[in-house]
């Protein structure tokens, strides 16, 4: 576990915006997989998780517009209210950007807990909106998604900085 967290002295290369876009589209694809049954219930929101990562580690490289656009794409493919995911992701973006300086210094376990709580935010925002629009309240299993999302956080910490660690030889790093 300790090897997952970047060593304090490690300096990552600046991330490319195109890499952020590729990861977000990949997360959207994962969300669009035809999940069914128990997997559909336990499925974390990959888009929210990836957005959370980038808002925490590269808040200057990704704006609120990405959250809005990805939210609208999710709304269409989910056949939900148009703007529901957009609102959820916007709330997530705000909370992640405001807290990003603190969270980066957390240990991995604390970060997982933090990610769980953060992923709860869009779920609750969407729940409030849908209940206000007159929908039936879903079962408590609706909230399982934020637990599995939090459990996947170490995987993101491992995979997403890969592009920034691409060079092994610091003397010949091309920036």
């Amino acid at each position: 576990m300790a090897s997952l967290a970047p060593r304090p002295q490690e300096i990552l290369l600046p991330v490319k915006r195109s890499f952020i876009a590729v990861t977000l589209v990949g997360a959207l694809l994962l969300n669009l997989l035809p999940w069914s049954g128990a997997a559909a219930l336990a499925k974390p929101d990959f888009v929210a998780l990836t957005l959370l990562y980038w808002y925490t580690y590269e808040p200057r490289k990704i704006g609120f517009t990405s959250a809005l656009v990805l939210g609208l794409l999710m709304d269409i493919s989910d056949a939900s209210l148009f703007g529901q995911h957009a609102l959820g992701y916007t709330v997530l973006a705000y909370a992640a950007i405001v807290l990003h300086r603190r969270v980066r210094r957390f240990a991995l376990g604390a970060q997982m807990l933090h990610a769980t709580a953060m992923l709860l935010l869009p779920l609750i925002a969407m729940l409030v909106v849908r209940l206000a629009a007159g929908a039936e309240a879903p079962s408590m299993l609706y909230l399982v998604a934020c637990l599995t999302g939090g459990a996947l956080w170490p995987l993101l910490r491992l995979l997403l900085p890969l592009q920034q660690r691409a060079t092994t030889d610091p003397d010949h790093a091309s920036i």
Binding site: N31, L33, A67, I76, D78, F82, T90, I97
Partner: protein, 301 residues
């Protein structure tokens, strides 16, 4: 908890300001979507963007299914063949009867001077995936307005009504299932012709027959079929079977629950019916202002 960087770094508006702007935008979109019908064209555009991603995401599963189908054993194929042959034999007998009954029905209607009720055609569609929205019960099928699917058409399977097309995109459309809280189907009791309206309750395998007086002649096990008076569902399609009746004279209406006849939650293929009702059409709206209100009222039916 938040501190802003020194003002000589240009960072644009503060996160709070951006949160307020973007959430206001999202809420405005939602209200417009839920209350007015302005956003349909915008939905279409976004749907066209999402469509390739959706196909890409569902292709590995489809491939796995096809590979799985290839390795079906000989025995299971033979068993299925024998079962299907038996079923088709039984259906053939029923079909022969149906032909003569249809002819007889047409003659009788001609004698009575009434017009024939149904002229319907159907389109087979495959269910692509279940909507991931936990608040509603919808499925996405692989036929859209390219295949002349229209919003409002009834969707059935081999046993009965599954739901209704509620939104049409170029290549896919959304089917709201019978069990969705927002769907109502006008029905008639097969046993005595009593009319009523069946509502979904938002749970799998449960329906509710509402607004029936406490002393209504309904029994457990009664079968409800579509009445066709709404002009949306062709008459005579099986919808539900009554499972439980609670008659409490303290309330105006009895609490009648049932279960859907069709396999609403577990289907791979469905039929989309297009049906021209002979019932008189709704008169054309006089002014655009009233048209909007009507289309909203129609959405619930």
């Amino acid at each position: 908890m938040e501190y802003s960087p020194p003002p000589f770094f240009k960072t644009g508006p503060t996160p709070l300001l951006r949160l307020l702007f973007f959430s206001a935008l999202a809420i405005a979109l939602m209200v417009t979507d839920a209350r007015l019908q302005y956003l349909d064209s915008m939905r279409q555009v976004v749907a066209i963007v999402v469509y390739p991603l959706q196909r890409l995401a569902s292709s590995p599963v489809g491939l796995a299914q096809r590979v799985g189908e290839f390795f079906v054993t000989h025995t299971s194929l033979r068993e299925e063949n024998a079962r299907l042959a038996g079923e088709s034999f039984e259906n053939a007998a029923a079909l022969q009867q149906l032909k003569s009954l249809q002819a007889e029905n047409a003659q009788l209607r001609e004698l009575l001077g009434t017009r024939s009720r149904i002229s319907s055609s159907s389109l087979s569609a495959q269910i692509l995936y279940t909507s991931r929205d936990p608040f509603s019960r919808k499925v996405i099928v692989d036929k859209g307005w390219q295949d002349e699917v229209k919003a409002g058409q009834a969707v059935i399977d081999d046993r009965g009504v599954v739901g209704q097309i509620t939104r049409v995109y170029p290549w896919v459309s959304e089917v709201t299932l019978l069990t969705d809280k927002g769907l109502a189907v006008p029905v008639t009791n097969l046993r005595n012709g009593l009319r009523g309206v069946v509502f979904g309750v938002g749970r799998d395998g449960a329906l509710e027959l509402r607004f029936m007086p406490v002393n209504a002649d309904i029994q457990s096990g009664d079968r409800l079929v579509t009445s066709g008076i709404d002009g949306t569902y062709p008459p005579g399609l099986p919808v539900a079977e009554i499972t439980n009746i609670e008659r409490d004279s303290a309330y105006t209406f009895a609490r009648i629950t049932g279960k859907p006849v069709a396999r609403v939650a577990s289907n791979a293929h469905v039929l989309v019916l297009s049906w021209e009702s002979t019932a008189p059409r709704e008169p054309a709206p006089e002014a655009p202002a009233t048209a909007k209100r009507r289309s909203k009222a129609k959405k619930g039916s």
